[in-house]
Symmetry: C2
Subunit: 422 residues, 2 copies
């Protein structure tokens, strides 16, 4: 940390501005926020050429470094990706506003009516890697949920993010909302992240990291404010002896191979020891689809293409066309295996036996547990949340997909007629 005093002061001032903006946003009408989002989309479309130019400059600078292709791909904005970003803002405008919703209310014997009403959290810090689209997504989700956003993107995407942020702020200005509702951390030195993780002088209420494991691990380790995140998704599919084999093959294949790089992709397939006949077809289905299978002895014995799984494999998030596969003793064995090796993210059972399924759904302590469905449904959109800023595996407040509702909190409003306490 060799942040200069000037930078530190600038960061604290930015936090103070965000706190001020949050107060205005908390009271902004849905209609005004939606107009802002639509104006942002228009500004992004109008600035598409400029955003693309800035993106090219970012990419050129990044190419001189020794970066992975996947990194450069995420950094790159094509015209269709810019349009998708604008469309994403309009989609968020079309979602219902969570703020002000009366979540529940009841009347006390003395006549007081207690309501639990949804309100914004306040100021949310988003720390992300060089994925320019997160700038628009995260800014928009925070705005819609009535929160001010402090965005700190990866330095390799700085110019692109700055061009996008300018569009977001233009949208805010056009409808009379404070443009400090969405701010970008100006410098890209690492000390600004440290300050954000400390809460930026008490101005940040929540941090959401978006990026790879090392970023999330650092945020989880160092943050002194609440964090919504998941470090990894070691998701399991357990195929019970009472499963329909055809359904099991379909779910296993989808859970593992539909997209291998997302956190809801399955990394381990567990098969009931009472259904040895399931091994061969499930292994074949995976290998035929181009998936490398690492297995226990039983799996290896069924198919010579299965390589031995090490102890580490059972706790590995491959995010690739690789899977660990083995046999467990029934649903209890599966539950014990998941408790030991899982990451409390998403786990699924395939079975036609309802009692077995209910046991699994009850006893597996993960954010999302499924019966006869693919783990790849672990996604805010698939839940019907409309948009998500990530998946949380922590236990408090947000667990599972983090959408607009999860970016709010509540307060109690009590309406009385002069009641005093006895």
């Amino acid at each position: 940390m060799n942040m200069t005093t000037g930078n530190r002061d600038a960061m604290l001032a930015l936090g103070a501005e965000a706190r001020k903006a949050a107060k205005a946003l908390a009271l902004a009408a849905a209609e005004q926020k939606n107009r802002a989002l639509n104006a942002m989309a228009a500004a992004i479309r109008a600035s598409a050429a400029h955003i693309a130019e800035e993106n090219v400059r970012d990419i050129s600078a990044a190419q001189s470094k020794d970066l992975k292709d996947s990194f450069l791909d995420r950094l790159t904005l094509t015209p269709s990706r810019i349009e998708a970003m604008a469309k994403g803002l309009e989609d968020i405008a079309a979602l219902p506003d969570p703020v002000g919703e009366v979540m529940t209310h009841w009347t006390r014997p003395n006549g007081m009516v207690i309501s639990r009403v949804r309100v914004p959290i306040g100021v949310i810090g988003i720390i992300y890697e060089s994925r320019p689209n997160v700038t628009a997504d995260a800014g928009a989700l925070c705005l819609k949920s009535g929160n001010a956003a402090i965005l700190r993107g990866g330095s390799d995407g700085f110019r692109t993010s700055a061009a996008i942020t300018a569009c977001l702020q233009q949208g805010l200005r056009e409808v009379g909302l404070p443009e400090t509702a969405i701010q970008m951390v100006p410098d890209s030195d690492r000390a600004s992240v440290g300050l954000m993780l400390e809460g930026l002088g008490g101005t940040i209420d929540l941090i959401v990291p978006r990026g790879g494991k090392s970023l999330v691990a650092r945020v989880q380790k160092d943050a002194r404010v609440p964090v919504f995140s998941h470090l990894e998704g070691i998701c399991h599919v357990y195929v019970d002896k009472a499963a329909d084999l055809h359904m099991a093959e379909k779910i296993v294949l989808n859970a593992k191979m539909r997209r291998t790089g997302i956190c809801g992709a399955a990394e381990t397939i567990l098969i009931d020891s009472a259904a040895p006949a399931f091994l061969k077809p499930i292994i074949r289905t995976l290998i035929d689809a181009g998936c490398a299978v690492r297995g226990d002895r039983a799996a290896q014995a069924e198919d010579s293409r299965v390589t031995p799984a090490t102890e580490e494999d059972w706790s590995t998030e491959y995010l690739d066309a690789i899977v660990t596969l083995g046999v467990v003793d029934g649903v209890d064995g599966a539950i014990a295996h998941i408790a030991r090796h899982g990451s409390q993210h998403t786990d699924s059972i395939v079975t036609a036996d309802t009692a077995t399924a209910e046991k699994f759904l009850r006893e597996v302590d993960s954010a999302i547990v499924l019966h006869n469905a693919s783990t790849q449904f672990a996604d805010g959109g698939e839940f019907g949340f409309g948009a998500e800023i990530g998946i949380a595996t922590g236990k408090l407040h947000a667990r599972g997909p983090v959408g607009l509702e999860q970016l709010t909190t509540f307060k109690y409003q009590i309406r009385g007629a002069g009641q005093v306490r006895a």
Copy 2:
């Protein structure tokens, strides 16, 4: 921190035991937990004499120190306080079990049914001062909500708490639940608190401090795991020009004077500058009831017994028969004053004007906001929660009274029929 390796290992082992017990508790039936609570109550009644003896030993040791009378009072268990503790356990047994409740559920277009189901948080650490009754209260609330409890009470009440914990564990044993579901930290050196605040090797999910400001401040400052707490309750009553004066006097008096030592007691009374006639009767009501009034110039001008309020007074939680009183410019002035000086705990408006009241309820960013009712309703029992472990002023997960529901989290259970993601 001069904890020996032995103590550290013992603490970590205790955490691991709690984690194991939490798994069993999460699946325990309501009926079994309730039988345990009733057995605990019976054990406390049967051991009343022993508990009282241990309490006398604690008090004797404490009397040799220079402790406040209020401290000794909280440490002291009379026969009626022991009976109240047993009765409290039975009351918690009679409350509905929050675990397993389906909070909401919906069906996706593809036929999957998504349910949000209440589950326990896991392991809760309670750090409290020398108030032996917290041992029973906190242990019982954690048990009923399916959580394992690690109790760390003040050293001056160690013997009493140990005697109570033995009764709680006896109740657990009698119904076949692990007695490690409620554990007491064995030694009373401060390093054990430090270990708990770090999360005890990843075994503690949540810390709840119970005690005075210095304890809560330390926990808030050093905890690396989530904390449900409030540092102070600087609660306001704003009397609007449209208030019924009689109602205002009644609410002000109750909010300040019913009990002055609780966090929901009012510390500041704000009066609308458009209603100067309210000042004199409200000040008189307070002073007649034995309350010292510190006021701004307007208040001082109305009554010579009003002493000048310093800048610090407006942000002081007296917890005593002292109040700060002054004039603000209407509801906007009140909202601004509360934003500046309040503690986001509990604030009330007295007015007959519904629009003004709604503005206050909407704009004051506190856990609890009231219209025409006393701030002393800031209490889980008064909310109908049955029992509470405290009030939280943090924004995430629990805000306001922390009862059984707030000691739970949720997971998503998805029931499908073979759905895979497109």
